[in-house]
Symmetry: C2
Subunit: 423 residues, 2 copies
């Protein structure tokens, strides 16, 4: 691994603290990922990305900035990557999944809020996330109370722009969201000094759709009864999609899918015969939060899909590529993004339908509903989801958890009991 | 006290459970309110209202319903009472402040959310709140995640309409809020079968402004160094404002204010010389949540004002009475209501300015920032409020609490230490 200390220093990072983080991650990854048997060859690329997580990609961001380019951080699947790309900027997903950052986040935020929000805030405050340090601006949104108010605190540390997501999906809300997309366009044009032309936006729409199609292809492979890839590996790939170079990511993911489809033909599986198939539904799992997947897949079951922001909500539904005028494309973006069934909407019946549909498509034996601790929207929404799943005859287990390891034993026990129950 | 059991039965209430509640409240009220020395004579009316809290007013609601009128429940100072009145309906504030309802709320809601939301949900589910039982419809809003998602659950028990409050205060958000007000107008017209005419709406605007002016007059009296009324009593009056008959409330509150202004002239005070003056800032205190006021006022200090939804946010700023067209009045309503500085907005600098201004106007020696447990918006916003108050040289104490008595001793110790510190 190349020496990136000079680069990190330039980004104003706390090198000593960052060294501690750099020691933790390989151990964690090795224990969870590299022990898996019969992994696809194509996972080597993602191993490499993880090994270089604070190196090569950060160097690429730096090169881009050296040439006058901008880097923009995002935290939510509602922020349209297409605009960032069309403005000639690089977008990186900054949602943080490590307990490492919680302590620093709690210096400015209450303890009893979502770990994801505490972690990304702590990542910035501690100066230990080179992605965050590379950002010229971050784009927040009003999807939940904790994030909405955390932007006001982060704004003291980095230029923070906030999109106001409507909380409903009426016709006027689609128009309102289109307005917000137009406002973001203006903001990005000002930040980058580049004009977002119709051609550039259309190209970006096509590029993001290709990325979505690659992820759809990956997920399709998981519908096979002989699973060609573990849930853990698929989750990692989704997580990497948020910050990798899009063209390279598409290429490598499609190459992996070639291998997976070949495996399916040949009946090469990572699962044992008869292992239970689990659909995960709930809150995002930001890298390196692999906790629930690891518990499930070391309990003899397999995760076959994730109805989460780091799963199907990220890549389902393409943007309509037909429109080529600015108005038409902005409307197409608004339509695609506002269709995402996040628990931040009221009502949100569409999500119940999604979960039931996905459980069938992926032949899941049960659903594990995973909510980050103190995430009110997903947490409260569980009551109605549970009712709908019971009516559909689909077993479901509710887990609320944070990033610590304190509850791993307890969750393991509950997961094992659930797997026996649905046996 | 008259026998209202028949009426309660008609409302589908759980009479046995309600009896338990009816036993608790007088004890609580007696201990906290009736022990106060030197109370104004005018408080007798509010004593009477409390004694008849589930009786006389419920009878009035029933009489109104007998004549074909509708009753509408609300939970937030953003919902314009003017429209409800103009539609010939009666509006009642349903925010609930008793630990009694928490257990039933937790049957359908997570434990780790705001007690106010759990309490009003439990009040409905348990069938022990005759106000809730009297409602033909409730009007929710998207001011926080917990409420936003609780409406979906309550909708199974009572017709629930939700207004989508913008999360920002840009020019377009004022327009959007005006649209929501128009939508509510349609909904109320359908519910009641009455047309909201320009004349009726204008009358309702004037009525609500008179109620606001009565409360402003009450609060003005609290600016006197010789306090003519305790903070506890003032809080009770604000709480009663949410469900009492508006005309009667205005009359009785103005009569009380005559007495208070006379007391100020004569130097009749409820406080001891030199007692510390405290401004409360934070989340609403729904009836019968008198916990923090009682702790402060039994620790030798006095509460002189509340920058809360059951305080200044409820009555500051009148609706402009100049417009008489529907468009003009709806715009005037949108302008007045969206000016309220709730922590649900981002950014919300106006609230910092309000707190500093109120601390000066009421000659407060310190601010006690009170946040309901798990209220993310007020809880997170504290960081920036604290900073602003420190810069302004105003001492502040942060308290996060729920409706239980478990933390009373601990809060008392912290309040006493704070009062000594600012001495």
């Amino acid at each position: 691994m190349a020496d990136y200390r000079e680069l990190w220093q330039k980004l104003g990072m706390d090198l000593e603290k960052h060294d501690v983080l750099c020691e933790v991650l390989p151990q964690l990854y090795g224990g969870i990922y590299l022990n898996q048997e019969n992994r696809p060859e194509g996972m080597n690329y993602y191993n490499f990305v993880v090994a270089e997580v604070h190196g090569l990609r950060i160097k690429e961001l730096d090169d881009h900035k050296q040439q006058g380019g901008k880097v923009v951080g995002t935290f939510c699947v509602f922020v349209p990557d297409e605009l960032i790309l069309a403005a000639g900027a690089i977008g990186v997903g900054l949602c943080a999944g490590s307990q490492f950052w919680i302590e620093d986040g709690e210096k400015v935020l209450p303890r009893n809020i979502c770990p994801l929000v505490k972690a990304f805030t702590g990542a910035k405050l501690s100066g230990t996330c080179p992605y965050f340090q590379s950002c010229d601006m971050i784009i927040g949104e009003t999807t939940c109370d904790a994030k909405k108010k955390a932007w006001e605190i982060l704004d003291d540390y980095v230029d923070t722009y906030v999109m106001d997501l409507p909380q409903m999906k009426r016709e006027k809300d689609y128009k309102k969201w289109a307005e917000e997309i137009y406002d973001l366009k203006d903001k990005l044009e000002k930040l980058t000094g580049n004009v977002i032309t119709e051609e550039k936006l259309h190209d970006a729409i096509k590029l993001c759709n290709r990325k979505r199609m690659a992820l759809q292809r990956l997920y399709n492979a998981r519908k096979a009864l002989d699973l060609p890839i573990s849930g853990k590996d698929a989750l990692l790939i989704s997580q990497i999609a948020f910050y990798d170079n899009p063209e390279r990511f598409i290429e490598m993911t499609n190459a992996l899918c070639d291998e997976l489809e070949d495996r399916i033909k040949k009946g090469i599986a990572v699962n044992k015969k008869g292992s239970k198939r689990i659909l995960i539904s709930g809150t995002p799992m930001a890298v390196p939060n692999w906790k629930i997947h690891h518990i499930i897949e070391t309990s003899g079951a397999m995760v076959v899909a994730e109805e989460t922001c780091t799963g199907t909500r990220y890549f389902e539904n393409l943007v309509d590529e037909t429109p080529t005028t600015m108005d038409g494309m902005v409307k197409a973006l608004a339509d695609r993004y506002l269709k995402i069934n996040c628990a931040c909407f009221t009502p949100n019946k569409g999500r119940e339908e999604d979960i039931i549909r996905l459980a069938k498509e992926y032949k899941a034996d049960g659903v594990i509903y995973n909510s980050l601790q103190f995430c009110h929207t997903y947490n409260i929404e569980y009551a109605n989801v549970e009712k709908a799943l019971k009516e559909a005859g689909i077993p479901v287990l509710f887990i609320e958890s944070d990033y610590s390891n304190d509850d791993v034993g307890q969750i393991q026990t509950r997961v094992e009991a659930f797997l026996e129950m649905i046996g």
